[in-house]
Amino acid sequence: MSPRSDVVENYLDELLAGLRGNAAAVRRMLTETEEHLYAAIEADVARGMDPEDAAQQAIARFGAPDRVARAWSASAPPEPLAAFARRVVGQLIPLGGVGLVAIGISGVLARLMTALWGRSFVFADPPGARYSASDCQYWLSLRPNSGSCANAYLAEAVADGLQARYVAGILGLITLAIVAIRRRRRGLPVLMAPPVLTSFTGAALFLAATAALIGLGTDAMRISSGNGAGQWLSGAVIAFPVAIAYGVAFLRSGRRAPLPG
Protein backbone atom coordinates (compact mmCIF):
# COMPACT_ATOMS: atom_id res chain seq x y z
CA MET A 1 0.00 0.00 0.00
CA SER A 2 1.38 3.44 -0.95
CA PRO A 3 2.25 5.95 1.77
CA ARG A 4 -0.06 8.96 1.86
CA SER A 5 0.83 11.55 -0.75
CA ASP A 6 0.33 15.28 -0.10
CA VAL A 7 -0.28 15.77 -3.81
CA VAL A 8 -3.15 13.27 -3.73
CA GLU A 9 -4.57 14.63 -0.46
CA ASN A 10 -4.59 18.19 -1.83
CA TYR A 11 -6.21 16.96 -5.02
CA LEU A 12 -8.95 15.21 -3.02
CA ASP A 13 -9.56 18.43 -1.04
CA GLU A 14 -9.95 20.44 -4.24
CA LEU A 15 -12.20 17.82 -5.80
CA LEU A 16 -14.38 17.72 -2.69
CA ALA A 17 -14.84 21.49 -2.90
CA GLY A 18 -16.31 21.09 -6.39
CA LEU A 19 -18.56 18.08 -5.79
CA ARG A 20 -22.11 18.75 -4.76
CA GLY A 21 -25.26 16.77 -4.24
CA ASN A 22 -26.08 13.70 -2.23
CA ALA A 23 -23.52 13.30 0.60
CA ALA A 24 -23.25 9.51 0.25
CA ALA A 25 -22.66 9.82 -3.50
CA VAL A 26 -19.98 12.48 -2.95
CA ARG A 27 -18.27 10.29 -0.36
CA ARG A 28 -18.31 7.36 -2.74
CA MET A 29 -16.83 9.45 -5.56
CA LEU A 30 -14.03 10.60 -3.26
CA THR A 31 -13.31 7.07 -2.04
CA GLU A 32 -13.17 5.77 -5.60
CA THR A 33 -10.94 8.67 -6.65
CA GLU A 34 -8.55 8.02 -3.78
CA GLU A 35 -8.39 4.30 -4.57
CA HIS A 36 -7.85 5.03 -8.26
CA LEU A 37 -5.03 7.50 -7.66
CA TYR A 38 -3.15 5.27 -5.22
CA ALA A 39 -3.60 2.24 -7.50
CA ALA A 40 -2.15 4.29 -10.38
CA ILE A 41 0.77 5.45 -8.24
CA GLU A 42 1.51 1.89 -7.11
CA ALA A 43 1.49 0.66 -10.71
CA ASP A 44 3.90 3.39 -11.85
CA VAL A 45 6.19 2.97 -8.83
CA ALA A 46 6.29 -0.79 -9.53
CA ARG A 47 7.50 0.14 -13.02
CA GLY A 48 10.36 2.10 -11.45
CA MET A 49 8.94 5.64 -11.36
CA ASP A 50 9.75 8.02 -8.54
CA PRO A 51 6.75 8.12 -6.11
CA GLU A 52 6.41 11.91 -6.33
CA ASP A 53 6.46 11.83 -10.15
CA ALA A 54 3.98 8.95 -10.09
CA ALA A 55 1.60 10.99 -7.90
CA GLN A 56 1.84 13.99 -10.24
CA GLN A 57 1.22 11.80 -13.26
CA ALA A 58 -1.72 10.04 -11.61
CA ILE A 59 -3.56 13.27 -10.88
CA ALA A 60 -2.72 14.69 -14.32
CA ARG A 61 -4.27 11.61 -15.96
CA PHE A 62 -7.28 11.77 -13.66
CA GLY A 63 -8.09 15.30 -14.83
CA ALA A 64 -8.25 18.76 -13.25
CA PRO A 65 -10.50 18.77 -10.15
CA ASP A 66 -13.01 21.21 -11.59
CA ARG A 67 -13.17 19.26 -14.85
CA VAL A 68 -13.98 16.05 -12.99
CA ALA A 69 -16.43 17.93 -10.77
CA ARG A 70 -18.19 19.30 -13.84
CA ALA A 71 -18.46 15.80 -15.33
CA TRP A 72 -19.95 14.77 -12.00
CA SER A 73 -22.42 17.67 -12.04
CA ALA A 74 -23.43 16.93 -15.62
CA SER A 75 -24.26 13.32 -14.82
CA ALA A 76 -25.63 13.81 -11.30
CA PRO A 77 -29.38 13.72 -10.66
CA PRO A 78 -31.02 17.18 -10.39
CA GLU A 79 -30.09 19.00 -7.22
CA PRO A 80 -32.98 19.79 -4.83
CA LEU A 81 -34.00 23.46 -5.04
CA ALA A 82 -33.14 24.20 -1.41
CA ALA A 83 -29.66 22.68 -1.80
CA PHE A 84 -29.17 24.64 -5.04
CA ALA A 85 -30.17 27.89 -3.33
CA ARG A 86 -27.83 27.18 -0.42
CA ARG A 87 -24.95 26.47 -2.80
CA VAL A 88 -25.53 29.64 -4.84
CA VAL A 89 -25.68 31.77 -1.69
CA GLY A 90 -22.58 30.00 -0.36
CA GLN A 91 -20.69 30.82 -3.55
CA LEU A 92 -21.79 34.45 -3.59
CA ILE A 93 -20.97 35.22 0.06
CA PRO A 94 -17.18 35.38 -0.60
CA LEU A 95 -17.93 37.69 -3.54
CA GLY A 96 -19.88 39.95 -1.19
CA GLY A 97 -16.93 39.93 1.20
CA VAL A 98 -14.52 40.90 -1.57
CA GLY A 99 -16.91 43.68 -2.66
CA LEU A 100 -17.06 45.13 0.86
CA VAL A 101 -13.27 44.97 1.22
CA ALA A 102 -12.95 46.73 -2.15
CA ILE A 103 -15.21 49.51 -0.84
CA GLY A 104 -13.01 49.75 2.26
CA ILE A 105 -9.86 50.03 0.16
CA SER A 106 -11.54 52.70 -1.99
CA GLY A 107 -12.07 54.61 1.28
CA VAL A 108 -8.31 54.57 1.90
CA LEU A 109 -7.77 55.77 -1.66
CA ALA A 110 -10.40 58.50 -1.22
CA ARG A 111 -8.60 59.62 1.94
CA LEU A 112 -5.35 59.79 -0.04
CA MET A 113 -7.06 61.79 -2.81
CA THR A 114 -8.40 64.17 -0.17
CA ALA A 115 -4.86 64.75 1.09
CA LEU A 116 -3.47 65.21 -2.42
CA TRP A 117 -6.18 67.19 -4.20
CA GLY A 118 -8.37 68.55 -1.44
CA ARG A 119 -11.69 67.62 0.10
CA SER A 120 -13.75 69.29 -2.62
CA PHE A 121 -12.36 67.01 -5.33
CA VAL A 122 -13.52 63.95 -3.44
CA PHE A 123 -16.72 64.81 -1.62
CA ALA A 124 -18.03 68.28 -2.56
CA ASP A 125 -21.38 68.90 -4.24
CA PRO A 126 -21.48 70.75 -7.60
CA PRO A 127 -20.72 74.51 -7.40
CA GLY A 128 -23.79 76.57 -6.51
CA ALA A 129 -25.50 73.79 -4.54
CA ARG A 130 -27.98 75.26 -2.09
CA TYR A 131 -28.67 73.86 1.35
CA SER A 132 -31.70 74.43 3.55
CA ALA A 133 -31.38 76.56 6.66
CA SER A 134 -32.13 73.61 8.93
CA ASP A 135 -29.41 71.51 7.26
CA CYS A 136 -26.92 74.34 7.63
CA GLN A 137 -27.86 74.77 11.26
CA TYR A 138 -27.34 71.06 11.86
CA TRP A 139 -23.94 70.92 10.13
CA LEU A 140 -22.73 74.10 11.81
CA SER A 141 -23.77 72.68 15.18
CA LEU A 142 -21.52 69.69 14.48
CA ARG A 143 -18.69 71.77 13.00
CA PRO A 144 -18.89 75.16 14.76
CA ASN A 145 -15.39 76.24 13.67
CA SER A 146 -15.84 75.57 9.98
CA GLY A 147 -16.75 79.15 9.17
CA SER A 148 -19.54 78.55 6.63
CA CYS A 149 -22.39 76.20 5.89
CA ALA A 150 -20.59 74.86 2.78
CA ASN A 151 -17.42 74.12 4.77
CA ALA A 152 -19.39 72.47 7.58
CA TYR A 153 -21.22 70.32 5.03
CA LEU A 154 -17.96 69.34 3.32
CA ALA A 155 -16.33 68.36 6.61
CA GLU A 156 -19.33 66.20 7.49
CA ALA A 157 -19.49 64.66 4.01
CA VAL A 158 -15.80 63.70 4.17
CA ALA A 159 -16.12 62.20 7.66
CA ASP A 160 -19.32 60.30 6.88
CA GLY A 161 -18.15 59.16 3.45
CA LEU A 162 -14.84 57.80 4.67
CA GLN A 163 -16.35 56.23 7.77
CA ALA A 164 -19.01 54.38 5.75
CA ARG A 165 -16.35 52.93 3.45
CA TYR A 166 -14.09 51.90 6.33
CA VAL A 167 -17.03 50.16 8.04
CA ALA A 168 -17.82 48.33 4.77
CA GLY A 169 -14.18 47.22 4.55
CA ILE A 170 -14.21 45.88 8.11
CA LEU A 171 -17.47 44.01 7.48
CA GLY A 172 -15.89 42.54 4.35
CA LEU A 173 -12.84 41.35 6.28
CA ILE A 174 -15.12 39.76 8.89
CA THR A 175 -17.11 38.04 6.12
CA LEU A 176 -13.97 36.67 4.47
CA ALA A 177 -12.61 35.54 7.85
CA ILE A 178 -15.84 33.60 8.50
CA VAL A 179 -15.59 32.02 5.03
CA ALA A 180 -11.96 31.02 5.75
CA ILE A 181 -12.87 29.54 9.14
CA ARG A 182 -15.73 27.53 7.63
CA ARG A 183 -13.45 26.19 4.91
CA ARG A 184 -10.80 25.23 7.45
CA ARG A 185 -13.38 23.41 9.57
CA ARG A 186 -14.50 21.47 6.51
CA GLY A 187 -10.86 20.58 5.81
CA LEU A 188 -10.75 22.65 2.59
CA PRO A 189 -7.93 24.96 1.48
CA VAL A 190 -8.54 28.49 2.76
CA LEU A 191 -7.54 30.02 -0.58
CA MET A 192 -9.26 28.46 -3.57
CA ALA A 193 -9.92 29.54 -7.14
CA PRO A 194 -13.50 30.90 -7.25
CA PRO A 195 -16.11 28.65 -8.88
CA VAL A 196 -17.42 29.61 -12.32
CA LEU A 197 -20.58 31.24 -10.97
CA THR A 198 -18.60 33.44 -8.57
CA SER A 199 -15.92 34.43 -11.08
CA PHE A 200 -18.46 35.25 -13.82
CA THR A 201 -20.71 37.24 -11.48
CA GLY A 202 -17.70 39.00 -9.94
CA ALA A 203 -16.23 39.96 -13.32
CA ALA A 204 -19.61 41.23 -14.60
CA LEU A 205 -20.50 43.19 -11.46
CA PHE A 206 -17.11 44.81 -10.93
CA LEU A 207 -16.79 45.66 -14.63
CA ALA A 208 -20.24 47.27 -14.58
CA ALA A 209 -19.31 49.13 -11.39
CA THR A 210 -16.07 50.34 -12.98
CA ALA A 211 -17.93 51.69 -16.03
CA ALA A 212 -20.62 53.36 -13.91
CA LEU A 213 -18.10 54.94 -11.53
CA ILE A 214 -15.92 56.23 -14.36
CA GLY A 215 -19.05 57.71 -15.96
CA LEU A 216 -20.05 59.47 -12.74
CA GLY A 217 -16.48 60.67 -12.14
CA THR A 218 -16.18 61.99 -15.70
CA ASP A 219 -19.50 63.79 -15.35
CA ALA A 220 -18.30 65.41 -12.14
CA MET A 221 -15.11 66.52 -13.87
CA ARG A 222 -17.02 67.92 -16.83
CA ILE A 223 -20.11 69.43 -15.22
CA SER A 224 -19.09 70.15 -11.62
CA SER A 225 -15.54 71.43 -12.15
CA GLY A 226 -14.22 68.25 -10.59
CA ASN A 227 -16.18 68.65 -7.37
CA GLY A 228 -16.94 65.22 -5.96
CA ALA A 229 -15.23 63.34 -8.82
CA GLY A 230 -12.86 61.59 -6.43
CA GLN A 231 -15.60 59.71 -4.60
CA TRP A 232 -16.48 57.91 -7.86
CA LEU A 233 -12.99 57.59 -9.31
CA SER A 234 -11.57 56.14 -6.08
CA GLY A 235 -14.13 53.34 -6.44
CA ALA A 236 -13.38 52.79 -10.14
CA VAL A 237 -9.63 52.51 -9.52
CA ILE A 238 -10.26 49.66 -7.06
CA ALA A 239 -13.14 47.97 -8.92
CA PHE A 240 -11.25 47.60 -12.20
CA PRO A 241 -8.41 45.30 -11.03
CA VAL A 242 -10.91 43.22 -9.07
CA ALA A 243 -12.98 42.81 -12.28
CA ILE A 244 -9.84 41.77 -14.15
CA ALA A 245 -8.91 39.23 -11.45
CA TYR A 246 -12.38 37.64 -11.55
CA GLY A 247 -12.34 37.74 -15.36
CA VAL A 248 -9.03 35.87 -15.50
CA ALA A 249 -10.36 33.29 -13.01
CA PHE A 250 -13.48 32.87 -15.17
CA LEU A 251 -11.51 32.42 -18.39
CA ARG A 252 -9.23 29.89 -16.73
CA SER A 253 -12.19 27.85 -15.49
CA GLY A 254 -13.98 28.15 -18.85
CA ARG A 255 -11.01 27.10 -20.96
CA ARG A 256 -11.22 23.48 -19.88
CA ALA A 257 -12.53 21.07 -22.46
CA PRO A 258 -16.03 19.58 -22.48
CA LEU A 259 -16.44 16.20 -20.91
CA PRO A 260 -17.20 12.81 -22.21
CA GLY A 261 -19.99 10.82 -20.63
Partner: protein
Amino acid sequence: MRNDQLKGHLDLLLMQVVDDEPAHGYQIVCALRERSDGMFDLAEGTVYPALHRLERQGMVASDWDESGPRRRRVYRMTHDGRTALRAQRAEWTQFARGVGGVLGVST
Protein backbone atom coordinates in the same frame (compact mmCIF):
# COMPACT_ATOMS: atom_id res chain seq x y z
CA MET B 1 -9.27 10.63 -29.99
CA ARG B 2 -11.12 13.86 -29.34
CA ASN B 3 -13.39 13.97 -26.32
CA ASP B 4 -16.45 14.94 -28.33
CA GLN B 5 -15.93 11.92 -30.61
CA LEU B 6 -15.62 9.64 -27.61
CA LYS B 7 -18.57 11.19 -25.80
CA GLY B 8 -21.28 9.35 -27.70
CA HIS B 9 -19.60 5.98 -27.31
CA LEU B 10 -18.30 6.03 -23.76
CA ASP B 11 -21.29 4.18 -22.30
CA LEU B 12 -20.93 1.40 -24.89
CA LEU B 13 -17.21 1.04 -24.19
CA LEU B 14 -17.64 1.03 -20.42
CA MET B 15 -20.42 -1.54 -20.55
CA GLN B 16 -18.36 -3.78 -22.84
CA VAL B 17 -15.37 -3.72 -20.47
CA VAL B 18 -17.56 -4.42 -17.44
CA ASP B 19 -19.42 -7.16 -19.33
CA ASP B 20 -16.20 -9.01 -20.04
CA GLU B 21 -15.33 -9.14 -16.37
CA PRO B 22 -16.43 -7.33 -13.18
CA ALA B 23 -13.87 -4.60 -12.54
CA HIS B 24 -13.13 -1.55 -10.42
CA GLY B 25 -12.64 1.91 -11.90
CA TYR B 26 -8.87 1.81 -12.31
CA GLN B 27 -9.05 -1.58 -14.04
CA ILE B 28 -11.76 -0.27 -16.38
CA VAL B 29 -9.65 2.76 -17.32
CA CYS B 30 -6.56 0.57 -17.90
CA ALA B 31 -8.59 -1.83 -20.04
CA LEU B 32 -9.97 1.07 -22.13
CA ARG B 33 -6.47 2.43 -22.69
CA GLU B 34 -4.89 -0.93 -23.50
CA ARG B 35 -7.63 -2.20 -25.78
CA SER B 36 -7.79 1.09 -27.69
CA ASP B 37 -4.01 1.10 -28.01
CA GLY B 38 -3.91 4.43 -26.17
CA MET B 39 -6.46 6.10 -28.47
CA PHE B 40 -8.99 6.71 -25.69
CA ASP B 41 -6.83 8.97 -23.60
CA LEU B 42 -9.66 10.60 -21.66
CA ALA B 43 -9.48 12.31 -18.25
CA GLU B 44 -9.74 9.21 -16.10
CA GLY B 45 -11.83 10.92 -13.45
CA THR B 46 -14.67 11.46 -15.90
CA VAL B 47 -15.21 7.69 -16.12
CA TYR B 48 -16.68 7.58 -12.60
CA PRO B 49 -19.59 9.96 -13.19
CA ALA B 50 -20.39 7.90 -16.30
CA LEU B 51 -20.27 4.65 -14.31
CA HIS B 52 -22.50 6.15 -11.61
CA ARG B 53 -24.99 7.28 -14.24
CA LEU B 54 -25.03 3.80 -15.81
CA GLU B 55 -25.67 2.39 -12.36
CA ARG B 56 -28.60 4.76 -11.79
CA GLN B 57 -29.97 3.65 -15.16
CA GLY B 58 -29.73 0.02 -14.05
CA MET B 59 -27.14 -0.90 -16.70
CA VAL B 60 -24.45 -1.86 -14.17
CA ALA B 61 -24.44 -2.66 -10.47
CA SER B 62 -21.62 -2.30 -7.97
CA ASP B 63 -20.46 -3.40 -4.53
CA TRP B 64 -17.59 -2.52 -2.26
CA ASP B 65 -14.71 -4.99 -2.27
CA GLU B 66 -13.08 -4.84 1.17
CA SER B 67 -10.57 -7.64 0.62
CA GLY B 68 -7.62 -5.40 -0.39
CA PRO B 69 -5.71 -2.72 1.49
CA ARG B 70 -8.26 -0.14 0.29
CA ARG B 71 -11.99 -0.32 -0.40
CA ARG B 72 -12.78 -0.71 -4.08
CA ARG B 73 -16.09 -0.35 -5.85
CA VAL B 74 -16.42 -3.26 -8.25
CA TYR B 75 -18.81 -2.89 -11.18
CA ARG B 76 -20.65 -5.73 -12.89
CA MET B 77 -23.23 -5.92 -15.64
CA THR B 78 -26.92 -6.32 -14.95
CA HIS B 79 -29.40 -8.22 -17.09
CA ASP B 80 -30.80 -4.94 -18.43
CA GLY B 81 -27.27 -3.76 -19.13
CA ARG B 82 -26.49 -6.86 -21.20
CA THR B 83 -29.65 -6.36 -23.24
CA ALA B 84 -28.79 -2.71 -23.83
CA LEU B 85 -25.19 -3.61 -24.69
CA ARG B 86 -26.33 -6.14 -27.31
CA ALA B 87 -28.57 -3.53 -28.90
CA GLN B 88 -25.86 -0.85 -28.84
CA ARG B 89 -23.28 -3.26 -30.29
CA ALA B 90 -25.60 -4.17 -33.13
CA GLU B 91 -26.28 -0.49 -33.80
CA TRP B 92 -22.58 0.32 -33.78
CA THR B 93 -21.69 -2.58 -36.06
CA GLN B 94 -24.33 -1.50 -38.56
CA PHE B 95 -23.13 2.11 -38.40
CA ALA B 96 -19.46 1.11 -38.78
CA ARG B 97 -20.33 -1.15 -41.73
CA GLY B 98 -22.16 1.72 -43.40
CA VAL B 99 -19.32 4.20 -42.88
CA GLY B 100 -16.79 1.57 -44.00
CA GLY B 101 -18.79 0.93 -47.14
CA VAL B 102 -18.85 4.60 -48.07
CA LEU B 103 -15.17 5.08 -47.32
CA GLY B 104 -14.19 1.85 -49.03
CA VAL B 105 -12.43 0.42 -46.01
CA SER B 106 -13.23 -2.89 -44.33
CA THR B 107 -14.41 -2.73 -40.69
